[in-house]
Symmetry: C2
Subunit: 498 residues, 2 copies
């Protein structure tokens, strides 16, 4: 490694250790924190955020970056390190400390107000705080700078280099393809037997089976663990320490099962990062969109496929013999792939899911450019729900108040969910070409070929390339909705006999 | 609060948040860390240690301290805040960063060498590393400075202001009183029925009963939790977030039971700290000795007393009806108070325990002043075991290699265990006077009066006073071994009919 890069990486490592320590505290907050520990944890996290910020904007970091930046003849990876270190340094340097603090306080108030509003189902308890958050995020965007639209500056945090200009056509095509597909599904006479999944499935058996599937996926329990939390998530503190969480509903088999498969998809990405890039500016997942492509591929394209259940249904039946007695593979497969327009994004099927995301994406753009006012949001939300999904929430708590993201100041996050869906289909198509008997392998429960292909083509590079470049290199094509649209049309056309 | 103190506290809070965040990572390391996460966790902890050090020696901290230090008309608590902030700042400033790093590396190597030596029972695997650690600790002592002996500078970390000059007579008296007591016990014809405790006690029942006892002690589970770990410990991240751990042996009732009572004694101290002092330089336990006085009081003086089991034995019998059928209170009480000279400190009874500590204390003093050479340590250890306890370990792994402390560079830590025993008896004597029917209350399972007395007299003050001053204020007398010696002579005189 070039000596100037070595120095830059040493500085970066310190910054990174602090952000990883932060992640440990956040994981603990969701999994273990006793009620009384919240205020103190808030302080610990605020101080860590402050110290990490100090490190990345420090004169020492700046000097190291400057030296590295003017070094010639760097390798591709070294150049990427400089680029990513610069991105983080510049973003952090451009936002004034006072604004950072103002945002943090507004987010904390926003979260309280949202919790309150959601519990009491009263939008106006949250409206003012949201208005303030939008105003502050707009200021952040202005401070950071952007090429076309302020919203681009917010997107960039979660999906580096993504812009509205690129997203609009991608998501527009998904919108145009999905609305008629959902309409056709609703008109179809075919209906799965949901009852298969909503019997009583004791928690212990669900967890044991979930662990078995995750192990078959190749998640390494010597380098990770599974716990329970209210909202499932995955957090990586290092490729040697990756934590998944799930939740269990005894009256619904799907929640825990697809929760762990989804999170293990994220987990494999974290475990699959290149050990040589650890604690460098590129030893990370490249973007939330790519991260989500891994979780959604395992959850939906693999975990909701017939070949997968050809292998795993007999095993599941061994855990739950009474509940699954006489249940046929085709019926089970149809049940786990039911498409229904619903109110809640996190419970949506893989077809309607993107419509939920597109709704939020359109609203976020409107909030940021001022064409949508926070006070009108419930009406706008319900109008768009009708337009996109043909249903209207009965109350705001199952409508505009359902997600935590905006209360936490996360604008620009939602679109990455849909990007994940698009990337997942595109990458899987390529994997199928690269592994000719992939379906058969999955049908035998051999998930290793797919995992290895993903490690090599998606996980290892870390942030060496941008997300779009990574997709292009791995799939041979630039990001596009085509593979995804073809996938859902084919799969649901068959299931619903369209 | 005086404005200069306010500024000092603001600086301190940042430092404290970093040390508390460190404690969360350390807790997680013992309770949750997957095998593969160790190297990364080491990095996170090293960086956090470095950043916390930067904060406490920073010019900004120094200025705030200087301003506070020259402020007049401070309250007693404000003065204590300045004193404790100064102690921490000066100690940190005096040790050169290079030495800090050298020590950290030597401790890390020491730990590896010790683990190896203990596993293979080969002293020489560890001897060189220990030699190096002693040499470095001597350099630390010289850097920090001391009044009488280098060892005082090491003691000071764990028991602020304690010195060999004060400890020698305290521990000397305990030594003189204990050796003949143990000899008399060994000569006694009376023997408890240990079999009562070493039947099969299923883990679930042990944990459920442990939780019940801990709740009766007043440990607040809304502000804490219990988990399992290899070595039981207690860690407080805030008075609202206090974590206990224990371990369970299904063939020995004592390990989990007295483990949780002990750790909950520590936990009550952390939960009992004054909310007004949180994140100030005095919002902490005052010393390890005082901390241990709380755990040992609950574990031994209360938890191994007859009144306690008058209430709890019937409850324990409900959990384990078969195992405890027909077991009389007196026999149970005798069984949990068996005195036997043994090799392993952590398994020792409350009488012989101090002899284990005194042995280590004498060795540490000798290592630091050069009168004991590390290469001779096994022989010295075994000689002292014979002298103090009348037994000789069969191998070094159950002798000189049994404790982790020295491998981690913890010299001066051991004596605090015995100080805890002395303080506990002294404080309990005073509590008995303050709460005239204390024995009856405990016999009814009402542990609240004792807990409240401890909160008021021991927990709340935090570091307002030194440990010795706290003992003097709470008990009415300066630290002394008298109460402890009287307690064990009385208790074991009765049990063994001496």
């Amino acid at each position: 490694m070039n000596p100037t890069i070595k120095k830059l990486v040493a500085r970066w490592s310190e910054f990174e250790d602090l952000t990883r320590a932060t992640a440990v505290l956040e994981w603990d907050q969701e999994v273990n924190l006793p009620e009384g520990g919240s205020p103190a944890r808030g302080n610990h996290l605020a101080t860590l955020a402050g110290v990490a910020h100090e490190k990345i904007v420090s004169p020492a970091f700046k000097t190291a970056l400057h030296e590295a930046n003017k070094t010639r003849r760097l390798s591709l990876k070294e150049q990427a390190m400089v680029r990513e270190a610069k991105r983080e340094h510049q973003r952090a340097s451009k936002i004034p400390a006072a604004l950072v603090q103002e945002v943090a306080r507004a987010e904390s108030r926003g979260l309280d107000a949202w919790k309150n509003a959601r519990r009491t189902n009263r939008w106006r308890e949250f409206a003012n705080q949201l208005h303030e958050l939008v105003r502050l995020k707009r200021r952040v965007a202005d401070a950071v700078g952007y090429r076309h639209l302020p919203y681009d500056a917010l997107l960039d945090v979660f999906e580096p280099d993504a812009t509205v200009k690129e997203l609009d056509p991608l998501l527009g095509e998904v919108r145009e393809a999905t609305i008629p597909l959902v309409r056709k599904v609703r008109a179809s006479k075919r209906r799965p037997n949901r009852r298969i999944l909503t019997q009583k499935y004791p928690a212990d058996g669900q967890m044991a089976f979930g662990r078995m599937v995750v192990e078959a996926m190749g998640f390494d329990f010597a380098r990770g663990r599974i716990d329970l939390s209210t909202h499932p998530f995955c957090s990586g503190f290092d490729r040697g320490d990756v934590r998944l969480t799930t939740r269990i509903h005894e009256n619904d088999l799907r929640s825990c099962l697809f929760g762990v498969i989804h999170e293990a998809g994220h987990g494999l990405y974290e475990q699959g990062l290149d050990p040589k890039l650890v604690r460098t500016p590129i030893g990370h997942a490249v973007s939330l969109g790519i991260h989500e492509s891994q979780s959604r591929m395992w959850e939906n394209i693999v975990g909701r496929s017939q070949p997968f259940w050809r292998h795993f249904l007999p095993k599941l039946r061994r855990v739950f013999p009474t509940q699954l007695k006489g249940v046929k593979l085709a019926d089970f497969h149809f049940a786990i792939n039911e498409v229904t327009p619903s109110f809640i994004r996190v419970e949506a099927d893989e077809v309607t899911y993107n419509l939920h995301v597109i709704l939020r994406y359109e609203i976020e753009k409107g909030l940021l450019d001022g064409t949508i006012k926070t006070k009108d949001l419930p009406a706008v939300w319900n109008g768009k729900m009708q337009e996109l999904l043909g249903v209207t929430p009965r109350r705001d708590s199952e409508g505009v108040l359902q997600d935590i993201h905006w209360a936490m100041g996360l604008f620009g996050y939602f679109p990455t969910y849909s990007l994940g869906n698009l990337y997942s289909a595109q990458l899987f198509d390529k994997a199928k070409k690269a592994i000719p008997d992939l379906g058969d392998q999955i049908g035998k429960g051999n998930l290793t070929p797919l995992r290895n292909w993903l490690i090599k083509n998606v996980h290892r590079p870390g942030r060496t390339f941008s997300a779009a470049e990574l997709v292009r290199r791995a799939s041979g094509q630039k990001p596009s909705p085509r593979a995804f649209v073809a996938y859902v049309n084919r799969k649901y056309g068959e299931l619903y006999d369209l």
